[in-house]
Amino acid sequence: MPASALTRSMPTGRRLRRLAVPPLSIAAGLALWQAAISVFHPNKLAVVGPWEIARDARRLFANGTLGADIRLSLVQLLCGLAIAVVAGTAAGVLLGASRWVAGAVGPWVTVLYTIPVIAVAPLVIVALGFGDAAKITIVVAAAFFPIAISTQAGAAAVTEGGLRDVTRAFRANSLETLWYLTLPGTAPHILTGVRLAIGRALIALVAADLFGSTSGLGYLIISGQQNLETSDVYVGVVTLSVIGLVLTGLVGYAERRITAARTARAGA
């Protein structure tokens, strides 16, 4: 039926248009950037254009260094994030479920959250050396707090809400309450925390590389600065941005899916 085909294609078209806007915006930005470079010819030590960055990225990729840097940084980042998710969720649930724990530990969380990771990163490296352990620890330190704080808010809302009465009425023990109520109820908040943690974790990773490293995306940026290879700096920065964009996008997608499934009024 043409009428129904029309109504069905309308939202699809609108969705396509909405999906096309971000890439088009980025493409337009890159074009403007390249145009500005060719018109103003800025100092090559400070600003390089996208074309040159792409060419440098291809070179670094071809000699294998960029791939190795990405792999190392991703492993360190994902290990640190994984630990931070587990620890941050556990801490957040405890903080949210118990007023006593919140009162005793809450101030510590606030104090530690405000410490800039970059200030303590050298101390961690002194303690743990230049290897993965120090990098992962620094990532965990950066990612833990947003996850714990967001989870705390969610867990507190769940355990003080009406559903807690339901688990109590069904005589669920604390483990069952955690598994059937607190964790699923807090899941959107945990994901929000993870989404906020990704950016902090990336900054922390670069900061950790600053204080001593022989590989990784942070090292690429630092050595680019020191060797006046400005395009290397840009390649590192852009790669980090893409990693952040992809990870944040994936977590945000999961977040939206969960929320939509719980609140959708129509359909099953």
Binding site: G162, A169, R171, E176, R262, T263, R265, A268
Partner: protein, 298 residues
């Protein structure tokens, strides 16, 4: 408690070990709230016995301790003195009680079937169930509450009345010895409320489950209860019991009939006067009784 026997009902009580023994016995129950100003008595010598399959509705002024009474029956609120037994044992033990809240309070991340299966999934209870058993039980209850085909829906996709039916099915899925309902239908509109009252009456009749329903809606109490217990102001005591001599399951005719209106009027007068003259009074149809609320057109 001198109420007469309720009308003959099909003896469908399946999990009562001793059919003659009350499923609920409360005697001289006293309890209090802890407040900054000191203990505030809530229940002051409550006596109540509920027979297997019997439905008792409790009405009383706000804050008289109706909800506390249900919490005592669940084992969630301790007594200062007196006795309470569910199936002859302390509440909160082996005997199961189903609880229906005022708000449906369904888990938004589960579909209807998984919500109903919740009580069966908790492994702490004696009888373990297989996934197939849980599913069959959920589907059976969905049919009883009239929601067959909605098993895959998430709560957010259901109307308030449908959510409350799921809530009822969830509480009944564990085959409770007694169902406790706390103002179950006060959050829905009038027509939905009346429909849900009929669903509840039919469901309790079909399953033979005993129930204690706390409500401030006198007509609801009379429609659902074999007996209507009237509580006094806090500290609450049961000051009168009215027997509703009408067979269950009850229908729309009874819901809007003279008999219900007459009994409701007597309960209302008793509540209003607040005296104890009608203790254990038999409610008989009284044609001249004025209706407590605005009479509904039929």
């Amino acid at each position: 408690m001198g109420s007469a026997t309720t009308p003959a009902r099909a003896a469908t009580v399946h999990d009562a070990p001793d059919p003659g023994r009350p499923v609920i016995e409360i005697a001289a129950a006293r309890t209090h709230y802890a407040t900054p100003a000191g203990p505030l008595p809530v229940l002051d010598g409550v006596d109540l016995a509920v027979r297997p399959g019997e439905v008792v509705a409790v009405v009383g002024p706000s804050g008289c301790g109706k909800t506390t009474l249900l919490r005592v029956l669940q084992g969630l609120a301790p007594l200062d003195s007196g006795e309470v037994a569910v199936h002859g044992a302390a509440p909160g033990g082996a005997a199961e009680t189903g609880y229906v809240f005022q708000q449906p309070s369904l888990f938004p991340w589960w579909n209807v079937r998984r919500n109903i299966e919740f009580g069966l999934k908790l492994r702490a209870r004696g009888r373990r169930t297989s996934a197939a058993e849980r599913r069959a039980q959920a589907d059976r209850l969905l049919e009883i509450v009239g929601l067959t085909g909605f098993h895959d829906f998430r709560p957010a996709a259901l109307s308030g009345g449908m959510q409350q039916r799921v809530n009822l099915a969830r509480a009944l899925a564990i085959d409770p010895a007694v169902l406790l309902l706390d103002e179950p239908f006060s959050a829905v509109d009038t027509l939905t409320r009346e429909r849900l009252q009929r669903v509840l009456s039919r469901t309790l009749h079909a399953l033979g489950t005993a129930a204690v329903i706390v409500t401030h809606d006198i007509r609801e109490a009379v429609f659902l209860g074999d007996r209507v217990a009237v509580m006094s102001e806090r500290p609450g005591r049961i000051v009168a019991t009215f027997t509703v001599d009408h067979p269950r399951p009850r229908t729309e005719d009874f819901q809007h009939g003279e008999q219900l209106a007459a009994i409701a009027a007597r309960v209302y007068r008793h509540l209003k006067d607040g005296d104890e003259r009608a203790h254990a009074e038999q409610a008989a149809p009284a044609a001249d009784a004025p209706h407590p609320e605005k009479r509904r057109a039929r």
